[in-house]
Symmetry: C2
């Protein structure tokens, strides 16, 4: 039998769009790993009636309800009051929470506790406390007619620590029954709908316990297999069989398996060939370097970057010729290629990737239209360069998508050249 959970995130800041709800994805991933499926995610205001309705709704669906937010010390934090109203009980002071708060205050070099901090040690009488070592808001675990209602602080690093070390181990004991296995295939070079037609027969014959989803990106498609069953090993085996069949039909479009991010794929292909990489970034402004260094272990292949936002830095640090910039303009194949070559010379790596373009919203100095970009990858001898044009993207998306394309080009370069 499948065990489900429902997530509730509380806070006005979510509903005015000031904060993106990253907590829910983190919790959903953690639950998935122990075989608990998330039924829905609901975000509501700091408002007693909405919070209580969300609790009732979620408990009606799922034996596990995890809520985040609204546990702070200030007036707008009302989750505990709503909880008491729902549970028909009072707030009582919990000495262990008070001890924890005092301890944190000493650690942070603050003076004495004030009344509001003392109030953070008040918890609903029917709730069990799980200490939050990283913050003053306690985690609450409440059993409600055989179901469990869990309240976590909304601060992401506090939530993560509690999920990983307190909540998941406890849930595992009680609820882990079925296993869930996910497997991703990254596919490129075919439109989503053509792929779906190509895969139609195979897809129709997938066993019931394997679900397939298409997640299209700008330049590729993630095919996600999800299998639910009792034995993890059997699920893995069944997915492997299906991937074998998939490869017979559409193997030529397969770029990577279970790759996670494109930055992780770059790490794998570089490690395989024992190569190092540098970036020379203009319009991506350091985002490619950031993506690469977000991968744990990246120091094995990533040495450094030059972010060359001005022509001046391109010339002086990356040794791009001023005459070339004059002749070809800053946003050109030639300048992108010179930047990549310059990065290898300055940073001493096997290969380098470069970007030069206009992210907008204002036109570049050279009059090039917004949305044009050149990307180049080189090992000093061979060169792979490509241009993209994204006039409709806003600044944020432009930087992200160009960075991803650039990393894709790195993979293509490393795979297709003998380095």
């Amino acid at each position: 039998m499948k065990v489900t959970a429902s997530l509730v995130t509380i806070g006005d800041e979510l509903l005015i769009g000031q904060i993106v709800d990253t907590n829910s994805a983190y919790i959903a991933k953690a639950l998935n790993r122990i075989g608990v499926e998330v039924q829905e995610i609901l975000s509501v205001k700091d408002e007693q009636a909405s919070i209580i309705e969300a609790i009732e709704r979620s408990l009606s669906f799922s034996p596990i309800v995890i809520m985040t937010g609204g546990l702070g010390p200030t007036k707008d934090d009302i989750t505990k009051a709503a909880l008491c109203e729902y549970l028909h009980c009072d707030l009582v002071q919990e000495p262990s929470v008070l001890e924890n708060i005092k301890h944190l205050f000493v650690q942070r070099g603050y003076k004495e506790l004030n009344n509001l901090n003392q109030d953070q040690a008040l918890v609903p009488q029917k709730s069990m406390v799980i200490q939050n070592k990283l913050g003053t808001a306690p985690c609450l675990w409440t059993e409600v007619e055989g179901k469990v209602l869990i309240n976590l602080p909304g601060v992401p690093f506090e939530m993560k620590q509690l999920i990983d070390h307190e909540i998941i181990p406890r849930l595992k004991q009680t609820y882990q029954q079925s296993a869930i296995v996910h497997h991703d295939l990254l596919v490129s070079g075919i439109p989503e709908s053509d792929l779906a037609i190509l895969l139609e027969d195979w897809e129709n014959n997938l066993p019931d316990f394997i679900h397939l989803a298409y997640l299209p990106n700008r330049a590729s498609i993630d095919l996600r297999f999800s299998a639910v069953g009792e034995h993890r090993e059997e699920l893995i085996k069944a997915i492997e069989e299906q991937i074998g069949l998939f490869k017979q039909v559409a193997g030529q479009y397969l770029v990577a398996e279970n790759s996670g991010s494109i930055a992780q794929i770059v790490g794998e292909v570089l490690n395989q060939k024992d190569l190092t990489i540098a970036t020379a970034e203009s319009c991506t402004g350091g985002h490619i370097a950031h993506l690469l260094t977000s991968v744990s272990g990246s120091s094995a292949y990533f040495k450094g970057s030059v972010v060359a936002y001005t022509a001046d830095v391109k010339e002086k640090v990356l040794n791009v010729s001023p005459a070339l910039i004059e002749e070809k303009t800053v946003v050109s194949r030639e300048v992108a290629e010179q930047m990549a070559i310059g990065a290898i010379a300055v940073l001493g790596t096997s290969i380098a990737v470069s970007t030069t373009g206009v992210a907008g919203p204002n036109k570049g100095e050279d009059g090039k239209d917004i949305g044009t970009v050149w990307v180049a990858v080189t090992n000093g001898q061979q060169m792979l360069s490509k241009t993209y044009f994204y006039p409709y993207l806003d600044r944020e998306d432009f930087i992200k998508i160009v960075s991803q394309n650039a990393l894709g080009l790195v993979v293509e370069f490393v795979k297709s050249h003998s380095l």
Copy 2:
């Protein structure tokens, strides 16, 4: 009277945590600007019963329901079928959508349309189509008993273009009645609960139509004012009055007003003094440069960066002395300061900020514990350096929080020195 909207995001990828729902925050912000308050955000599976229940629930709360996702051409996209079931109507082919799809296919250099793409031109008979110029999934606008149900594609850049240019202008005509004004104060140097006590009397006397929220960050607190009423100008005036009163009580803790991000504040303080900036980044791996260049107009003050992930790059590009690294270790005040000085020399800016630390999860070569970092800001003569220790943060949060601290230190440096 307040007009509310409810948002529904559809897709299994959200519920397994593979994708963070960034669409909802974008839509919520856009609605807020025209005075429409978001009542709740609900994420559900690609499952007919769940989608229909979500529609019913949301329409019961709000006259405007905006849904994203599930409009693609593949088997897991079932939003249109659910919509027909809910509306008791059939799918009919809409020629203008077919034209749009053909046009996009030519643009993308694909061959002929396949059946699945043709099916994307099928829309519920009771829905009105709004063309999606950037993608093959049409936007649907359905009137249901005086309320409106809007379906948008889940691909962020398609959704954004439709929200900005099609949906918001239409909603504005029908629903804009009240105005909403937000104003943020960034406060630092006082614990959240002490601030709340300090502000208690003032907060209790706030007029009913002004709501105050505390949004604590690691090193600062955002105080957010939200005022709802008929006349925008009156709301702005009322908030200004309250900020005047706030300053009398807690003005010494105020860092910035309506600042948006810390990177925007850096831009403002640099522009005020006509300064330029560079970054020299080790453990933050280019993230500070990325934050700075995410701000439109940043090319006025940001010139470039050196990401120096290895000791080698620190020595050769930033001219940090090998003997110093040997003596003090890579993660030290002295190395951070030398990196910042080196960045000014290499990149030719007025000031530079540097970071050197161990993000983990593996220990650094020099044996320093995970979570230690040094940050330095200099103009070549004066220097401001600080160390932080975040042993509990995961890699992602560590990079983000250190980057934000570093930008905070830049603001402190520029404000407290006559440059």
